[in-house]
Symmetry: C2
Subunit: 202 residues, 2 copies
């Protein structure tokens, strides 16, 4: 044999793959999945379109990789943050605080998850919806626990969990779209108070 991939090259390729993913996240965040073309991603990543296909078998596998990463990144942060508390209300707060932290740090992820989500028509979107539902499920579990402890109003915990998540979601979306409210951290405190009252914290 006259050639075998060396470590240096392997690292270079890895780095290039990360570069493609990073660029794709930016492009998907601005336009939707259906709205962005592979050619655009390739051009922005400064590679030929054919090169992209050396790293990903097709458009779908690229977006799948992105969603998989976002999935574990976000839910990982949430679970880490929650693990620091045992009290139900604290865990609730921890979940949303983790979300906000990640979204502030990774605005592109927030845009893909919250703005570009829409229809359920392709595999990509249904994965995104999965993340959302997972968060609602976690929230509902906290609420059920608090309810059995008698520390909550008797309302339907599923609806309450959706209201809880939805209120955060809306504020974050507006922040992403038009920088209103300007200070998301501050809004977070307001939101937390709003929802604790809403839940009927006893």
């Amino acid at each position: 044999m006259a050639y075998r991939q060396t470590n240096k090259v392997k690292e270079k390729l890895d780095h290039k793959k990360r570069e493609i993913i990073k660029t794709a996240r930016e492009v998907f965040a601005e336009n939707s999945y259906q709205g962005t073309s592979i050619k655009t991603v390739a051009k922005k990543a400064k590679i030929a379109t054919g090169t992209l296909y050396l790293y990903f078998t097709n458009k779908e596998s690229l977006i799948n990789m992105i969603v998989d990463e976002m999935f574990s990144e976000l839910l990982g942060c949430i679970k880490d943050e929650r693990a620091m508390y045992t009290d139900g209300f604290d865990k609730l707060q921890a979940s949303m605080e983790a979300c906000i932290k990640v979204f502030i740090k990774e605005k592109n992820m927030a845009k893909i998850l919250l703005i570009q989500v829409p229809g359920v028509n392709n595999a990509f979107n249904s994965r995104l919806i999965e993340i959302e539902n997972e968060l609602i499920k976690l929230t509902k579990e906290d609420l059920d626990e608090l309810k059995t402890q008698g520390r909550l109003s008797g309302d339907d915990t599923l609806v309450s969990a959706m209201a809880f998540v939805g209120s955060f979601r809306q504020v974050i979306i507006n922040w992403l779209r038009e920088e209103k409210p300007e200070n998301l951290e501050e809004a977070f405190a307001t939101l937390m108070r709003y929802n604790l009252r809403g839940l009927g914290k006893a």
Copy 2:
């Protein structure tokens, strides 16, 4: 001249245009804007693809017409319902009740407005955002009024208004996507209580 459009024909054309719009709403609601083809719309409306272009200059003008109509239909209902009350809390409730009523009656509208929203850079998508922001604005006005009356907690009314609208939005989206909660009317009552507590109704 040997031919001039008569009233009977004019009416027939009008009716056909309505028929196309109605069909398109159904198709756009199921697939997204980008996901539906003109041919599908035409076939479902039982006309040739070319015929559709006699009524709309292109795909975009069709969706624009649809969004324009939804815009006035929904906001019209909201304003009508609000006009029946003077008290701030009543007006708040009236807004959301109007939304829910319209969405239950016109599920296709709800799906297009809340789920099939495509990417950000689309002209008609900004109209959708307009509707959402208009509702938040109306809500904020109610909250400001209530605040000056000292009937509300002192929290930021913009964030509260977003939380308010967002909580409803989330529940309606889940209802559209997976029929959970099953009974939207009942969820509405729960949501209303949740938000009134959240607002710090005094």
